[in-house]
């Protein structure tokens, strides 16, 4: 694949880089959102202490993965 070289050097990231960047961004957003909403929902079902940490971590990873996948797709269909 030829590298897109503009008049100011290589400033355009290519498609796979954009998809990767979208995944990282979505993963970060999803982790943050999962930390908030996961804390609420785990407190609501009555988890405390060590169990709470595990529950929140699981929710964070799940929502990070979901968000990252969707964000990567959203980046991928636009380039």
């Amino acid at each position: 694949m030829p590298v897109a070289v503009g008049p100011y050097g290589q400033t355009q990231p290519n498609c796979f880089d954009r998809v990767k960047m979208g995944f990282m961004m979505g993963f970060a957003v999803g982790m943050a959102a999962g930390a908030m909403f996961g804390t609420f929902s785990c407190l609501r079902v009555g988890m405390r202490g060590r169990e709470l940490m595990g529950g929140v971590g699981k929710t964070m990873m799940q929502s990070g993965g979901t968000f990252g996948t969707f964000m990567a797709i959203g980046m991928g269909i636009r380039c």
């Binding site: 897109a4 503009g6 100011y8 355009q12 960047m21 957003v29 943050a32 979901t66 969707f70 797709i73």
Partner: protein
């Protein structure tokens, strides 16, 4: 990043609606394929068939709800741009919250509040990540002439066609 290079306003609604449908359909296809594969009875044939059924029934639904969200979101966004006369992250956050509230309107005011808070927080996170990303990217990739010290001249001035590769 794409927040600052988007379509002009009335057409953004169509663009976001279609983009959201595609995103939801593809993502829903991936997730439902895995889910249908795991939820089916044993045997590869059954599993593939269950996977296909799950994708066929669920992926367009998810795409449709994504499309409703995206279309309503950018409708409100455009309205806010028109009313306030400027375009900043608060528009997105407000329209995310309002979209959540409107789409949960049939479930009562408590559900509306919860859904609005969720939409607003999500959009605030996304906007914040976008701002951080543009700041980080602009500091990491300086847009100066990078190949000034390279001795090889460009064979052809590629002004006209460098955009077709992306």
């Amino acid at each position: 990043m794409e927040e600052y290079a988007r379509e002009p306003c009335p057409w953004r609604i169509v663009d976001d609606c279609g983009g959201a449908f595609t995103m939801g359909a593809i993502g829903g296809g991936i997730f439902q394929a895995v889910k249908g594969f795991r939820n089916s009875p044993a045997g590869l044939n059954h599993r593939l068939r269950g996977s296909l059924t799950a994708v066929r029934t669920r992926a367009p639904q998810l795409g449709g709800s994504f499309a409703v969200w995206g279309g309503l979101f950018s409708t409100i966004d455009c309205g806010l741009v028109k009313i306030r006369g400027k375009e900043d992250p608060w528009n997105s956050i407000t329209s995310g919250a309002m979209t959540g509230a409107i789409l949960a309107a049939r479930n009562g005011p408590v559900a509306m509040m919860g859904s609005a808070a969720m939409g607003g927080i999500l959009l605030a996170l996304i906007e914040g990540a976008g701002i951080l990303l543009t700041r980080f990217a602009s500091s990491q990739f300086p847009t100066g002439p990078k190949f000034a010290e390279e001795p090889t001249p460009m064979p052809t001035p590629s002004f006209g066609d460098y955009r077709q590769y992306q």
